[in-house]
Symmetry: C2
Subunit: 248 residues, 2 copies
């Protein structure tokens, strides 16, 4: 509770969703990690790949994307620092989506066999990681609802709420501003909207005083209003502390 946030971003993220025993923290801190930098749009893993590594996002922003048969793109989730986008890959042989960074992104690779070893020997670590994948699934569920049943305006607001809360929980909101270098085309791919309509909706959100933007920096100028417009309820993020009602 009074504990300072870990300087290890993976541990910090996991602490937002699980209470970690000191022994767990030690084990997690000892996982061997190989760092690598990617630039924007340089795919980290692709649909069809059979990875033997998972990776944690150390810095940057990543999307999980799919292409339909006629070339349209859908982003099914974003991943922020601390997240392990393809922890799922630990239990899948083939990738069913592609991980693409939206900005220069630093990741840390972890070997599957090492992760399996640590999980087999430490059920408490298994629980933490398993819970993490299950929360990813909860986020996908919410996205289905968002794309399926909310109009463009609420949909965009919802996405912004989610990203702001998630970034905030790992300390990546500075001066009440979220750095989201996601092009409007990519926002459309995440929301199932056209680029033009994304632009329209962003203007509306600005006009209504819910957000303001400077370049790719988003400021929720009226957090309560944004939450209301978004029909946003952070329960589905399953964060440990109800830090999510906070004022940004």
């Amino acid at each position: 509770m009074a504990q300072a946030p870990s300087s290890n971003i993976l541990i910090r993220k996991l602490q937002t969703i699980s209470e970690l025993a000191p022994s767990d923290i030690a084990l997690l801190g000892n996982i061997s990690i190989q760092e690598k930098e990617y630039h924007a749009n340089e795919d980290i893993l692709r649909e069809g790949d059979k990875p033997t590594l998972s990776f944690v996002v150390l810095d940057g922003l990543i999307g999980s994307t799919k292409l339909t048969g006629d070339g349209k793109r859908q982003i099914s989730s974003f991943f922020v620092p601390g997240d392990i986008p393809d922890l799922h890959g630990l239990h899948l042989s083939v990738m069913d989506s592609t991980f693409t960074p939206f900005m220069p992104t630093r990741v840390g690779f972890m070997r599957h066999d090492a992760l399996h070893d640590i999980c087999d020997q430490h059920p408490s670590i298994t629980r933490v990681f398993w819970r993490s994948t299950v929360i990813d699934a909860a986020i996908y569920r919410e996205w289905v609802t968002n794309v399926g049943r909310r109009d463009a305006y609420a949909r965009m607001a919802h996405l912004l709420c989610e990203l702001i809360v998630r970034l905030h929980s790992v300390g990546r909101i500075e001066d009440r501003v979220a750095h989201l270098p996601i092009t409007q085309a990519a926002l459309g791919d995440a929301l199932g909207l056209s680029t033009v309509h994304v632009n329209r909706v962003l203007q509306e959100l600005r006009r209504d005083g819910l957000i303001s933007t400077v370049g790719s920096r988003f400021h929720a100028t009226d957090w309560a209003g944004l939450v209301r417009a978004a029909d946003f309820d952070s329960t589905y993020l399953h964060q440990r502390a109800a830090q999510t009602g906070a004022d940004f």
Copy 2:
């Protein structure tokens, strides 16, 4: 390979996604199960509940649903016999969606503490269950894509392909016919469409000779055509055998 399908539907389902050692099968077969029947629309678990049990679908059909603030419903997944819809709940304290049966449905409850015990003691069981939840997540990902980027016609075709493949893999397709007692309103809730448009699209699929229906029984009269119309690729189901190219 030449093994006859298990008469235990849970084991049969898990065998479609993982290779089970005889010892695993024995352990799984010994999990204590409490059966219960629900009728259509009688919620099994609700958003906000804090369950201490998970359940396997023994017979019937269940949807995972959410309500938006203005009362619209979204179904984010269907569950067929053998599935454990809220295995996720093993690692979440609060339900973020509701499980609703679409027909009289028999389920088997399993205690969380019993499941935790067996997982803590048997990493191989953990892997099977964990993989199952991770495949659920892959299905949600595909649904985001389906709802976000495919038009109504392809979207409906895709849903039918998925359900037919999943039902087939657990032996619940009889005479090339899938029993899907899902009202057109509920199909709309699953696809993010209005009831009227669901009706339009179903007529089109019938007119194009891809499906025929008798009551709630769907027959894929042109499986290859349906797959093509749906842009369906079963990779995301992560089934063990490539039984999915089969002719229904």
